[in-house]
Symmetry: C2
Subunit: 347 residues, 2 copies
Amino acid sequence: MERGPVVRITDVAALAGVAPSTVSKALNGTGSLRESTRAKVREAADRLGFVPDATARSLSARRSFTVGLLSTDSAGRFSLPVVLGAENALVGGELSALLATARHDPVREQHHVRALVARRVDGIIVTGRTTEPREPIRVPMPVVYAFAPSVDPDDASVVPDDATGMRLLVEHLVALGRRRIAYVGGRAEQAASTVRHDTLVAELAARGLELVGPALYGDWSEQWGRRAVDAVLGRDPGGAVADGAAGGAPAVDAIVFASDQLARGGCDRLRERGLRVPDDVAVTGYDDWDVMSLASRPPLTTVDMQLERLGQRAAELLIAAIEGEPARGVERLAPRLVVRASTLGDG
Amino acid sequence: MERGPVVRITDVAALAGVAPSTVSKALNGTGSLRESTRAKVREAADRLGFVPDATARSLSARRSFTVGLLSTDSAGRFSLPVVLGAENALVGGELSALLATARHDPVREQHHVRALVARRVDGIIVTGRTTEPREPIRVPMPVVYAFAPSVDPDDASVVPDDATGMRLLVEHLVALGRRRIAYVGGRAEQAASTVRHDTLVAELAARGLELVGPALYGDWSEQWGRRAVDAVLGRDPGGAVADGAAGGAPAVDAIVFASDQLARGGCDRLRERGLRVPDDVAVTGYDDWDVMSLASRPPLTTVDMQLERLGQRAAELLIAAIEGEPARGVERLAPRLVVRASTLGDG
């Protein structure tokens, strides 16, 4: 392994012809030195490629310039983009990110929280696997919750604005002339299923429309997406006929799925039952998870929750809090509608 | 936000009735103190819930107890499990992990490397998006390369053992009586395509068998997996017939795909062409990426590269190097064969 040489503060001091403590003052901008001395030290440091020791800097500044990224997740589907967005913003702010993954283990989370406190991080960003509200952590530094909000309204949280996402989908479907819309959720008890459902119903009502049939809940798998299509069409004489041979339009002209995985399974099953997407039934997903939304046949119209921006926003709120301007309450980040062939067709 | 109180070393000193420097010595196990004094300090620290300052500890120990996790990746499909495995092992070793993602940007990588050096990390683990060998980083501390090996044979690298993975697949297919095996790779220039191909050919030759037709290369998408099936069957009279109606066995009885995404697309296309998996054609994938391997119809027989263990192993090698016992060369981590219905059927 080839290693670069370590340049020490004493090397810079020797080259500049000053004491090591003078080098420290000159590079940190502290103490009272002549400008010519500072310039001489800076030049020597540049020539040697001297990298100031961040550990020493943190002791003198009473800040560690380090932030903890505490994730409860292990799979990382949702928390990873949040973590990446936060890390990106922190790097821009000259902060380093300490990664701590708790893997749904409360004991492990406690261990991580203690370790982050021991490291004297300037603040902590807490991310979750779902948007379910969570208990806050108790630490003596600022905390911002991203994706999974804190149950404490005095805490600062940033979450995706699911209501806006669903409103964008309804506007899009209605503008395309769809009126007979069914809903397929994931797990019934989760906010990602219920908030999207409730908003869908309210937005349809605002346009004088009603959801076709009861909402269907299952899990978050493609398999459930396929079975849900059978359930929607099964209760629907048109669909049952279309499944055989003779034809006849189904009683729904759009199915809103609460995730891309569900919608992808739904598209597969609709095709297998002889229905065309979107000509017979338009389909929408949620998440814009590319391995699902782009691989789906046809590719999915969906909602991008902008998770990287969400992580970035959490980092911005945390940096503001560290600098003495804490936020409180839940901030909702607007998502983006992504239109593809599952509603628009190839045209 | 509810915050716990900050307990300072002076609080512990006051309760124990000793000087702050004595608290430091007692908790760090340094200096010469009576055992009764140490016990008194520890008891006071426990009662107050005192957390020693890791920054101060690092200055006295000449180690930061921090390791950099440098990832070139942003999507994270492969590097994330490696990072998680490494983080897990580091936590066990009482080390913290500084996350640094370079996103394929050399300037950003340089910035990260400088920041990690400035933090005086004890060592760095470098992960990549692919298994392509990469240029080493030049830093004055130990480095271990995980997933993407360093081109310098003096560096320490841990990579998945693709040759063993392919050997396990061939053994499995041949044991099931498959003899007419075709291969579908991803991008032609990548080691993940070529190593698997070369091993497949060698393992077949060792059993007196030959690959059916030339290897096919494209990209890593499901779409290419589907098209590749057309290419395999198109050059194959049996397959061409089976695609119509009359039947006739295809000239291949197994297709080995270089990834789960490819294999999933392949299964879809085989089914659409009226062929049964595995009765007519057995299918294997690679990666055991659950959203692909489990959602595939049928679920995929595949190879689990054990990426978390790979990250863990990299952390172990790094900790050993930090403690003065560096490794060198490329260590190959054995993968695991995962058998599912795409070769075995439902029985």
